[in-house]
């Protein structure tokens, strides 16, 4: 490894292109995935802001914003389940909001229980807001959606399904990708969504012992046709559904592959040229009986050093971009798996680039070079 490092140190200018290519690929992949996951993360906002650890839905509901009405007669059964501490219902559906200016916006109506024991997504609501929502047709919006709905002040009205609704407060971190969230009480939501009293979109449950969640999920699943998810599963299932549905995954994969391909070709060109520059020295060593395999190791060591330095450079750049993006109000996440994943992927890319550059060793023929 020492000879590889010395070689790179001695000719930094030559190797810098390869290192920057690795940096480029790493930053591209990490930021893209981070931005997409941040964006897609809002899909599971209702799950995140709810205390429920079990979600029961219409069969095969792919994501938590795509629930369909199901009967709520299970609620009593849930309450009496020995492992379940509390049960609740949650009503959700799409409706157009007609603004005061006559504009129509597709929104998500969320009907939540408003008492303290509620398992609905009420974490962002103050107790005062919850009590105001008990009034019929009172709604709360995310402040960032207010402009879009022409409802920037408390008291402004809009129309949903021909019924007037009134804004009684604003909250934050309650936005989805499909449309603005309209938070309201369960009775109001049922009216707006034309849902019967014996229906809900999701049944929610909280387990007494979190360790029992998988067992309870299995038990409830056996009761009937309704799909039972743990909150955690349902949230990642919802996110992956949207990644697939929006084809964002494909776009992302494409961009990542492109980034890797560009990074790989630049890195391998760099290494190829660098090895080419030392070809006569290597040929002397070949003459002295040193195997081609040993030279392969030398090249791969160089590609690894290039990869590692490139990755180290990528860390502050990614961090800087992340800070910038967040200061601009965009969600971006950088979980550990993304950091390690990007690291391994780009390092693998650098090594593959090294493998591609091995053809430079073909020319290491003492009898040809050293006449």
């Amino acid at each position: 490894m020492m000879y590889a490092i010395l070689t790179i140190l001695n000719d930094k200018k030559r190797y810098i292109a390869g290192m920057l290519a690795v940096t480029f690929s790493a930053v591209l992949i990490a930021m893209q995935v981070g931005l997409l996951m941040g964006l897609i993360g809002v899909v599971s906002v209702p799950i995140v802001h709810s205390k429920a650890d079990i979600w029961i839905s219409f069969p095969d509901t792919p994501a938590c914003d795509l629930g369909r009405p199901m009967p709520n007669y299970w609620l009593d059964r849930l309450w009496s389940h020995p492992d379940i501490a509390a049960a609740d219902e949650f009503v959700q559906g799409f409706r157009y909001w007609q603004t005061e200016k006559g504009k129509n916006e597709l929104c998500v109506v969320l009907g939540v229980s408003l008492d303290d024991e509620s398992l609905g997504p009420i974490a962002r609501l103050t107790p005062e807001q919850r009590s105001r929502l008990t009034e019929p047709n009172a709604v709360i919006l995310d402040a960032k959606d207010a402009g879009r709905l022409d409802a920037t002040q408390i008291g402004v009205e809009g129309e949903i399904t021909g019924q007037r609704v009134r804004v009684v407060g604003f909250t934050d971190q309650m936005r989805g990708i499909t449309g603005p969230f309209i938070v309201t009480s369960i009775p109001t939501a049922r009216r707006l969504l034309l849902m019967r009293d014996d229906q809900a979109t999701f049944l929610l449950a909280k387990c007494k012992d979190p360790a029992r969640i998988p067992a309870v999920v299995a038990d409830l699943s056996s009761w009937d046709k309704w799909t039972v998810h743990s909150a955690k599963e349902f949230s990642s299932q919802s996110e992956w559904h949207w990644i697939g549905k929006t084809k964002a995954g494909i776009a992302l994969g494409f961009a990542a592959v492109l980034g890797l391909a560009i990074g790989c070709s630049i890195t391998s060109q760099t290494l190829y040229a660098a090895i080419g520059a030392s070809i006569r020295e290597l040929a002397v060593l070949r003459a002295l009986g040193i195997s081609r395999g040993r030279m392969v190791i030398f090249v791969l060591q160089q590609s690894m050093v290039v990869g590692i330095v490139g990755l180290l450079l990528a860390i502050p750049i990614t961090y800087g971009l992340l800070t910038l993006v967040r200061s601009l109000g965009t969600q971006a996440v950088m979980p550990i798996w993304l950091i390690t994943g990007t690291g391994s992927l780009t390092l693998a890319m650098a090594i593959i680039a090294g493998l591609f550059s091995l053809r430079s060793l073909k020319g290491v023929e003492p009898a040809e070079l050293l006449r």
Binding site: T7, R280, A367
Partner: protein
Amino acid sequence: MSVILRGEHLVRGFGEGELRTLALRDVSIELEAGQVTVLMGPSGSGKSTLLAILAGLLRPDSGEVESMGQSIVGMNDAERENFRRKYCGFVFQGYNLFPALTAQQQVEIVLRWGEGASAKEATAKAIETLTVLGLGEKRHLRPWQLSGGEKQRVAVARALVKRPALLFADEPTAALDWEHGEQVVQLLKRGAADDKATVLIVSHDPRVTGLADRVLFLADGKISTDHHVVDGALEHREPAKEAVR
């Protein structure tokens, strides 16, 4: 004296069809153990080709090479590589030193990569060899900090460090002035003598011959004359008929 390297009826051509040139046409040669043999001849006469074949770097089209009691023509690539690693040292015309490495590292790398020697062992041997060649003080310098003669001495150290039984040098003095050229050949000769190595030097530099035990002339792909060197003067070699055949 015992023959340590024998080439018989060596033929080697390059190119195809009309462009084909015969670099060697039926060359036979014997190198005696511990002797310094200089191979001379005009440019393009096939000296480098012959050296490469005798050293196991190149295969002849036909003919036999017996070196250290083994036939190296029939060996596969890995076997020849092994053979060269065990027995052969090389000095070429250019210095061919890694720009990134110090003199000492250039020499160490041969042992580290070739024999998997430990860092400690390689360092000790490299310093020893460089000191013998008068480069002990300069062992931490990189090629750009060394003069041409010093660089070629590093190249000689690289060839000698594993104490090869056979030492091949292809125009080791071409880039050097008279004084340094002679010095390098002296060192080659002395280093080889210390290890009782057999040396083949290719050169069309007549100044090198004074230092040789024996001088062969190659012209047009054939060995034309064979001389012993006595007191720096060339003397026709008696058993030439046998050796040259």
